[in-house]
Amino acid sequence: MVPADFVFLILATLIVACGFVVVFHSKIIYSAFALLFSFFGVGGIYILLNADFLAGTQLIVYVGGISVLILFGILLTKKIYNLTTEETSTQKIIGGATSLAFLGALAALIFNTDWQIVTTTQEFTPQTLEIGKAFMGNFILPFELAAILLLVALIGAVIIGRDEKKEEI
């Protein structure tokens, strides 16, 4: 077993375990934190796959951004002096059936794919340059579209936030 496999096992365990916590833990705050660690583990996997830029983005966007946003939402909505904010699951049968079906679909996908196993550890090559070239070259249109979308979202958020405040006053 090479060190990379060992690290992969650790990361995979982290992701799966945290995923279980996200789904099954009764306290929503635990779910949120577990989700965060799950994201973190995914970032680790990216590094193992030599996708360094993607890993960094994963950390910045998901760990530093989205998870914090989720946590923020939870902290602001749930009362601090009521630590037992528990979520119960309803509709167990439908939920179970859906997830079983989904599991089946995934399994089918996994077993039907012709996996190509790379045996040699590839030499680490920086990805940032290629990504940058791709963004500014072939994929300039989607890139700019995404940028405009984000800008629109930002302005929209500002407008919504401002309107609410006016009503208050």
Binding site: D52, G56, I60, F124
Partner: protein
């Protein structure tokens, strides 16, 4: 393979040492600097001799003259303190939080280029990595504030998060200017690009990259540096942006309920974060381990490169402390105003300027 493992282990050990030493030295410096500014003496009694005496039980405390062992003694004291977990706290998260905060800071240390031959993890996207990993600390702070079941803690955590998330933007944009000039994200290469005379440093327009024309970058680089420095103060919750732990408002913010070693870990992490923040400033703007005088660098004195680096960082840390003991604290809304209405537009302007420069002048 073995070589790499050994080397990694050594690097990790050195970095663990560096983090704690940095913490201890910073705390000592903080006390001495504040004392100096306030016309006091600061710690005077606890020297290494008296500390040793106290440990073995002798009762002579008159050996210290400038209190060198004060922070060590404080650390020892905190280690012995009772580890109190508040009654309503969420025990697991409460205990986990300081580790995450510390982990975030410590992980950032890995990519610091102390010298050309000593970069513990010479990652290709070093700068990006540090920015990414230090956002991990935010979650630890949120965790601490929430888990301690204290309203002041929660308020502090919320403030801290809002502040850090906002100030990451001007930091990122101001650093992108440098990245554009260097054309790399690797911290090591950035420092290498600044070797030679001190006017090769990015702060002075990075003459080495561009020749004399680089001088047009000088004003924006100064602005960039100031913005980065301001934002790094905010990122590390230092005065005048220390509103998350404003002791006169929120008691102690997110670490109100922490005692003993857990509190000490928060402190170490905080000073570690200050070190990292200023280390990035030194690496990107002030030439990293280069002394600024080529003769000195070429002399190849062993160990001088990390020394120069750390000295530069501590000079900046001194400025941080200077600012802290001089300025009052901003209010939350003023803090956000500063970020969104002043810093971000200014960074966008410098970013634009550098883009124009890069496209048309090189």
């Amino acid at each position: 393979m073995d070589n790499i493992l050994v080397w990694t282990m050594i690097s990790i050990l050195v970095m663990v040492g560096l983090v704690s030493v940095v913490g201890i030295i910073s705390i000592y410096l903080e006390r001495k600097v504040s004392a100096f500014m306030q016309d006091r003496l600061g710690p005077m009694e606890v020297g290494f001799g008296s500390l040793a005496n106290a440990i073995i039980g002798k009762k002579t405390f008159k050996e210290g003259r400038i209190g060198l062992a004060q922070s060590l003694a404080d650390g020892l004291k905190l280690l012995q303190k009772e580890d109190i977990v508040p009654k309503g706290a969420d025990v697991f998260l409460f205990k986990l939080a300081p580790m995450i905060v510390f982990g975030g800071t410590f992980a950032a240390f890995a990519a610091l280029p102390l010298a050309e031959y000593f970069v513990p993890a010479d990652i290709n996207i070093g700068l990006f990595y540090i920015l990414a990993i230090s956002s991990f600390g935010v979650t630890g702070i949120l965790m601490a504030g929430w888990a301690s079941n204290n309203k002041w803690g929660l308020l502090g955590a919320l403030r801290s998060t809002a502040q850090m998330v906002s100030y990451e933007i001007p930091i990122g944009v101001s650093l992108i200017s440098i990245v554009m000039i260097c054309g790399t994200l690797s911290l090591k290469e950035m420092v290498l690009a600044q070797s030679g005379w001190f006017w090769n440093w990015h702060l002075f327009g990075a003459i080495s990259h561009n020749g004399a024309i680089g001088i047009v970058l000088l004003p924006v680089m100064f602005i960039n540096f100031l913005i980065y420095f301001t934002c790094s103060l905010a990122e590390t919750n230092r005065a005048p942006f220390d509103i998350p732990e404003a002791e006169s408002e929120l008691v102690a913010g997110y670490h109100t309920e922490y005692t003993g070693m857990r509190f000490a870990i928060f402190f170490l992490a905080e000073y570690g974060a200050i070190f990292v923040g200023n280390a990035i400033a030194v690496t990107l703007f002030l030439g990293g381990w280069n002394s600024g005088i080529p003769m000195l660098d070429e002399a190849n004195i062993p160990g001088i490169a990390p020394l120069i680096f750390i000295t530069k960082v501590f000079v900046l840390i001194f400025v941080v402390m200077w600012v802290r003991w001089t300025l009052p604290r901003l209010r939350v809304d003023q803090l956000m105003n500063l970020c969104w209405k002043y810093l971000i537009p200014f960074t966008l302007f410098t970013f634009f300027y550098v883009t124009i420069y890069k496209v048309f002048l090189t």
